[in-house]
């Protein structure tokens, strides 16, 4: 049981990484795996949650926030990331500002056959957009989140975190 609890990425761990890296806003569309995370984010007085209606909005809202001196993160699922292609291009890549995008890696599994097509297209999509990414599965990987923030700042580009934990997600376990 102890081992099972250790082998997840806790929502508290993710929020701690956000706080450590000075995140001010999370622009997001909740999905079935992130409900507890959403509730937890709303409880943080240092963090403002911006719920969007469609994922493409998140990158443009983030750009506006960045221009005004804030530090947003986009938190969406990989399905919505594909919908956001033009927005990632025009509002994130072309703008030349640092941005971390946290992407739920729906359908991905370290074990067995991946049958969900969205999981097969996720990394090729990021590679096509030339967005570097880090896979985070458990709390032991959480320091990669800070690496992503540092890389985004250093390169003035978006960097993605792929959360490969669909089977625990950010709900209570």
């Amino acid at each position: 049981m102890v081992e099972q609890q250790a082998a997840i990425l806790s929502p508290e761990g993710l929020i701690e990484e956000f706080k450590k890296n000075g995140v001010s806003h999370v622009v997001t569309i909740p999905d079935s795996e992130t409900n507890y995370l959403y509730e937890l984010m709303k409880e943080q007085d240092w963090l403002e949650v911006v719920p969007a209606s469609r994922e493409g909005e998140t990158f443009a809202i983030a750009l506006g926030l960045i221009i005004g001196g804030k530090k947003p993160v986009c938190l969406i699922q990989n399905t919505g990331m594909l919908e956001s292609g033009d927005s990632i291009r025009g509002m994130a890549l072309d703008s030349g500002f640092p941005l971390v995008m946290v992407i739920g890696y729906r359908g991905w599994n370290r074990h067995g056959v991946i049958s969900d097509s969205i999981a097969r297209y996720t990394e090729p999509f990021l590679n096509a957009m030339r967005v570097n990414y880090y896979l985070v599965e458990t709390n032991e990987d959480a320091d990669r989140i800070s690496v992503a923030f540092e890389e985004a700042k250093k390169t003035n580009r978006p960097v993605a975190i792929l959360v490969g934990d669909e089977y625990h997600g950010f709900n209570r376990v």
């Binding site: 493409g56 990158f59 506006g64 005004g68 927005s87 025009g90 640092p98």
Partner: protein
């Protein structure tokens, strides 16, 4: 319908220190009227997403009035943003919609259901704090003071005369426009903002 030039001429007198974000074919004419281009923003870059970027800017600068001159074609590409704006309720956000009922930049083809959509009604029902519709210049000019004193988000839908462009893009007259990067640099310099 109102001429775009008359909309801008009327608004200019009431602009104050507002940050102004023009978009679309109609919006290109704002450059002929502005007298504070350090606070004019080019936030284009992705289809239908200037509205979203303007929302982000309004949320990041709550003490500044943020005025967006949107177009109905762009808004239709990203209509969910109306709910997103209504949900965040930015009190400093003034959402003008220049509705010419067509895609002027591609030759004037009508947008879907061009003549019947009530954009102001749509935004009001989504949860905007106030909504106005105008088809007459005198009516608009009479109300502009009240509009700019409103608590946002406010939508101001204005029927405007389309400025249809039929020339192939390469042969069109290029109106000088400040780049997005330059407009960001100018605004950040004006307000003393550094990227976090």
């Amino acid at each position: 319908m109102i001429r775009v030039e008359d909309v801008f001429r009327t608004f200019k007198e009431k602009r104050g220190d507002s940050i102004v974000i023009p978009t679309g074919t109609s919006g290109r004419h704002w450059g002929d009227y502005t007298d504070n281009d350090k606070r004019d923003m080019n936030l284009g870059g992705a289809m239908g997403q200037t509205t979203s970027a303007a929302l982000g800017l309004a949320l990041s600068l709550p003490d500044e009035k943020v005025v967006l001159f949107d177009s109905e074609g762009a808004l239709l590409m990203n209509l969910g943003i109306v709910a997103t704006i209504a949900g965040k309720k930015p009190q400093n956000f003034f959402h003008f919609l220049l509705d010419n009922e067509c895609y002027a930049t591609t030759g004037g083809q009508p947008v879907p259901n061009a003549e019947e959509i009530n954009y102001a009604g749509m935004a009001k029902e989504a949860g905007y704090a106030a909504a106005y519709s105008f088809e007459d210049l005198e009516d608009f000019a009479t109300n502009i003071d009240q509009i700019m004193d409103e608590t946002g988000p406010v939508v101001i839908a204005i029927k405007v005369v389309p400025l249809v462009e039929n020339e192939p893009i390469g042969r069109r007259e290029r109106r000088p426009q400040k780049s997005r990067a330059q407009s960001i640099t100018d605004l950040q310099g004006e307000l003393g903002i550094k990227v976090a």
